[in-house]
């Protein structure tokens, strides 16, 4: 029977009922309270329990008010102690309930569903199943590893994956029905001064769930080749996972206790967020080498893309460190890319290989640098923002200088690209000196500069950056090289077809010295054969250029030979063994010229008439 109500404890019966309910659910008790969860029982039980907790809490608050006026301090103390004891039992119970609800209502989701957001904006070839088909990724990576491959398609792909508008997509990490129950528990725990336990349980459970998600996203073991993988995972992490955690914290804790939602959020995600940034951080401080430039830029772009979301999600004081780290990594990546670019320029300038490429063809350095430059133009949008200072030129007396006066309208990035070509040219000139045959060194320069010009012309983006002024300069250079070649090779040959020195001064008829003529023909034949033998192993890869060069030299050679032959063949034919001297017809010459610059590995047999 309940004791009669007195004025002191008019709520005594209510209090005792409350205590009884709480004791019934004492986790530490040795009877059947274990194994059953209140919140899995019917709703009435839940309501009863929560009301009981509220009742005890109310009595505690009123006790503290009345204690000052009461003379029976010990009695009040006893009441307080008893209520505190009950509250502790209730709180222990609620802690367990809290944990249980969190655990049993955690939504599990397939990792692929997390990536759904990304796949819609990215072409299928970039979509990679987690941990399975890596061939697509490898090909992408290989493409990026060796600068080469079409620029424009890559540009479009890049734009679609990284410039997509950010969309934070929050998911229900805990089923919505559970949220209100959880919140009602949180309210009581905070009111009773047990927020620490609450935060601790929440943090433990959610942290562990976070780690599972991280593993599913494949973030745990990522190596440097996996930048794309990281970028995709990071976007999901930030836009979906972290944002959802934040929302959950707000749903559960906002308005109950100051900054509790922030605390719980940071408790859950801080370690994971820092861990997420470990990868780009490592990239930003690791060794710089030219091949890394584009990976670093990809990373930089992705980070820039994600920064607004990062700042939106980590907007409290306690999350300062994470925001700051993201910004710092971004700036380090920018710095790294600047550094790589200038180191690349230096590297090209000082590239020391002196073994001449056979046949005077395109040097691998030329190809590499031009492909690199084309790729840089792909990344123009990003690099224009990052490259803010002009290239350092002319510091070393042994290096070329660049005249900036005509290039005032150009952005620093454009100047860097022009400088790269200047530097490449300089290096190529040095390399050309290692050919023993000066004609070949001219062919070499002609080929390589022509290649540069073609590469620039073929990419509209790049052409605009380099500008027609410098392009004209380069064109002039290779044409000049062609002219130099012609002089170096053909002047001697054509000299043998001159008129002077053939005529014998005589009193009446201007006769022709047959012996001199024979010498001339012999000289021509020897030289021409020599040219044929050597220069058919030379190479002019570009068909049009090759044709132009042949035509150009033919324009001088053929008429000269035809005229020479026409005028003097009679003299030879009237002598002995004309075939030793009249080896070639004009048609023969024309045909042989077609062998020139074909890059034959072995010289072709010389045809005899």
């Amino acid at each position: 029977m309940e004791p009669p109500e007195t004025s002191l404890d008019s709520d005594g019966s209510k209090l005792e009922t409350a205590e009884r309910i709480i004791l019934r659910w004492d986790s530490a008790a040795t009877d059947g309270a274990r194994g059953k969860m209140i919140f899995q029982s019917d709703r009435d039980e839940v309501d009863r329990f929560l009301r009981a907790v509220d009742e005890i809490q109310r009595s505690l608050s009123s006790v503290s008010f009345s204690s000052s006026s009461s003379s029976a301090a010990t009695t009040v103390d006893e009441h307080e102690v008893k209520a505190n004891s009950a509250i502790q039992i209730a709180m222990a119970r609620l802690e367990d309930e809290f944990r249980n609800i969190l655990l049993s209502h955690t939504t599990t989701f397939e990792p692929d569903s997390l990536f759904l957001e990304e796949s819609s904006s990215v072409s299928p070839s970039l979509c990679v199943e987690l941990g399975e088909d890596t061939t697509t990724v490898t090909t992408e990576e290989e493409e990026l590893n060796s600068p080469g491959g079409s620029g424009s398609s890559r540009l479009t792909r890049r734009r679609s994956s990284y410039r997509s508008t950010s969309s934070i997509r929050e998911m229900d990490l805990i089923s919505p029905e559970a949220v209100s129950d959880l919140r009602s528990i949180v309210q009581r725990m905070v009111a009773a001064g047990y927020s620490r336990e609450c935060i601790q349980v929440y943090g433990t459970v959610r942290k562990s769930a976070m780690e599972t998600i991280f593993k599913q996203l494949g973030i745990v073991k990522i190596s440097i080749g996996d930048i794309r993988k990281w970028i995709r995972a990071a976007k999901v992490c930030i836009r979906v996972v972290f944002s959802s955690e934040k929302r959950l914290c707000e749903q559960l804790f906002d308005g109950i206790c100051t900054a509790m939602d922030e605390t719980c959020f940071m408790e859950t995600v801080k370690a994971s967020a820092l861990r997420l940034f470990t990868f780009p951080e490592a990239i930003s401080i690791s060794r710089r080498s030219p091949e890394k430039l584009f990976k670093i830029l990809d990373l930089h772009d992705a980070l820039t893309d994600m920064l607004p979301d990062i700042e939106a999600i980590f907007d409290s004081d306690s999350s300062d460190a994470i925001r700051a780290q993201a910004v710092e990594i971004q700036s380090r990546l920018a710095e790294a890319s600047r550094g790589i670019l200038s180191e690349f320029e230096n590297a090209v300038l000082r590239e020391p290989s002196i073994v001449p490429v056979p046949g005077g063809t395109i040097h691998p350095l030329t190809r590499y640098v031009m492909n690199y430059i084309v790729m840089i133009s792909d990344y123009k949008q990003t690099l224009d923002d990052l490259i803010m200072s002009n290239p350092s030129t002319g510091s070393d007396p042994n290096t070329p200088d660049m005249d900036f006066t005509e290039l005032e309208s150009k952005s620093p990035l454009d100047l860097h690209l022009i400088w790269l070509i200047v530097v490449l040219h300089f290096n190529l000139e040095e390399k050309s000196k290692h050919y023993r045959d000066t004609s070949l060194s001219h062919i070499f320069i002609m080929n390589n500069i022509h290649y540069i010009v073609q590469k620039v012309k073929r990419s509209p983006e790049l052409r605009e950056m380099i500008g027609d002024h410098y392009l004209r300069k380069l064109t002039g250079i290779f044409r000049h090289a062609a002219t130099n070649y012609q002089r170096a090779t053909w002047v001697r040959v054509l000299n043998s077809l001159r008129d002077e020195g053939l005529h014998v001064s005589g009193s009446f008829s201007s006769g022709v010295s047959r012996s001199a003529l024979r010498e001339r023909f012999k000289a021509f034949n020897t030289m021409f054969e020599e040219v044929h033998r050597t220069q058919s192993t030379w190479s002019v890869p570009d068909a049009q250029l090759r044709e132009e060069l042949r035509i150009s030299l033919s324009e001088h050679l053929i008429p000269a030979y035809r005229s020479f032959l026409g005028r003097f063949r009679g003299h030879i034919e009237s002598g002995r063994h004309p075939e030793n001297y009249l080896k070639y017809s004009v048609e023969d010459i024309e045909t042989i010229v077609l062998d020139l610059f074909e890059g034959y590995t072995t010289p072709p047999h010389l045809r005899r008439r």
Binding site: V81, Q88, S104, G225, S286, S289
Partner: protein
């Protein structure tokens, strides 16, 4: 966090990047630098060995832990150790790289010594990762202790408060000893008992849905182990340290007079610092750690204080390994002692508390509060410093590899 290999096939991998003019370091200057380096090392470690004496404690200040602020293995001391490491490393790098002809460090004996050193530094990175995560565990213990402190600071101190504290303390004590079981059991993952602990180490307090979370003594086990997912299930801190000591021998003969000497010193310092960190902080699989550090020969002048510190820590470790408790961080050791003591108090508690017992408990609670406060102030900065150490090691590796490449020879995988 483990850096991986880059593919070396590109044409420009062979391009030499010559940025600085290299001048042959003249012998006298080098000798001076080496001697100065040794002296600095000796000085810094001497200071670490004998921290400055604390002021005489205040009569009214019952907190005895003021004197312990800079005790060896306290958080503050560990932070100083990190600073010392960074200073030593900076000085060493200057000696190694500044103004030095790159070909010098690619010829014998450096063609062996340098790759060994670089390999050690990679292993150190793993340790840094593990330790940073281990500190998260310590913060978890701190939180549990704070709950206990909050509860035991209530007045009047009733059954409810004490039970609350007991729950937190039980979690704390279990967490600390669970830590240790995995270490002392001699290899995580092996055998039935090992399997259980490994499995538990993965579960992070996760339970199959719906099961009751209650257990003996009313304490729920809120475990939070050092994240084994960060370094891999089979990773062992002890084994890592042991691997780092491979080939770590003092240079002999005429090698002792030149560059190999500071290389040996720096490597020894690095291994030592990593060893200290793994001893201090909960790390995965540490059994046998005390035996794994080859102590530098006692005759080396610069190493005296370092050896002294090693002995002190080694002794403590051996003692604790027998009794069974986790990290040697000074605050954690005291926290554990206080935890046990307060548990006893809580076990024997009836309201109202007996005066002497209550006073003694209150003093201990105050001490515990002080430890928590110190942890709150210092643990996160310590993590920050270890991250800095990580960065520094990565950077230095990169610089050394670049120099080697200039010498035309790359003998180690590149990042």
């Amino acid at each position: 966090m483990r850096p991986a290999q880059d593919n070396q096939g590109s044409f420009l991998g062979r391009i030499s990047i010559r940025r600085n003019q290299f001048v042959d370091v003249n012998n006298e200057q080098e000798q001076e630098d080496l001697e100065l380096f040794q002296k600095h090392i000796a000085d810094r470690f001497t200071e670490l060995l004998s921290p400055p004496q604390p002021p005489p404690s205040d009569e009214t200040n019952t907190v005895a832990s003021v004197a312990a602020t800079e005790q060896i293995m306290s958080v503050t001391w560990l932070r100083k150790l990190m600073d010392v490491f960074l200073c030593c490393e900076a000085e060493f790098k200057a000696i190694l790289l500044m103004g030095r002809d790159p070909t010098q460090i690619s010829k014998p004996p450096f063609d062996r010594l340098v790759p060994e050193m670089l390999d050690r530094s990679i292993k150190a990175l793993d340790i840094c990762t593990a330790v940073v995560n281990g500190i998260d565990s310590v913060r978890h213990y701190q939180r549990l202790a704070e709950i206990a402190v909050t509860a035991l600071e209530q007045r009047p101190l009733g059954d409810g408060n004490v039970r609350r504290a007991k729950r937190a303390l039980a979690n704390l004590v279990v967490a600390l000893s669970l830590e240790d079981k995995e270490n002392v059991s001699g290899g995580g993952g092996g055998g039935g008992g090992g399997n259980k602990t490994t499995e538990r180490s993965w579960s992070f307090g996760r339970r199959s849905g719906g099961s009751s979370a209650a257990s003996k003594g009313g304490a729920t086990i809120g475990q939070l182990k050092s994240s084994s997912w960060a370094v891999g299930r089979n990773w062992s801190a002890a084994k890592q340290i042991h691997a780092m000591t491979a080939n770590l021998t003092p240079p002999r003969g005429n090698e002792a007079a030149g560059l190999p000497q500071p290389m040996f010193i720096m490597s020894t310092v690095m291994v030592f610092v990593m060893w200290v960190l793994t001893a201090a902080v909960p790390c995965q699989e540490r059994s046998g750690l005390a035996n794994h550090l080859p102590v530098p020969p006692k005759h080396l002048n610069w190493a005296q204080s370092l050896i002294g510190i090693h002995e002190k820590i080694g002794d403590e470790w051996k003692k604790k390994e027998k009794k069974g408790s986790a990290g040697l961080m000074e605050e954690m050791t005291r926290m554990e002692k206080l935890g046990h003591s307060l548990m006893e108090f809580a076990d024997g508690f009836h309201y109202p508390a007996e005066k002497d017992a209550a006073e003694s408990a209150a003093a201990q609670v105050a001490e515990m509060a002080e430890i928590c406060r110190r942890m709150e102030e210092e643990l996160v900065p310590l993590q920050q410093q270890i991250r800095e150490v990580f960065h520094r090691i990565v950077r230095s590796r990169a610089e050394i590899l670049e120099v080697l490449e200039q010498a035309g020879k790359v003998s180690a995988p590149v990042v």
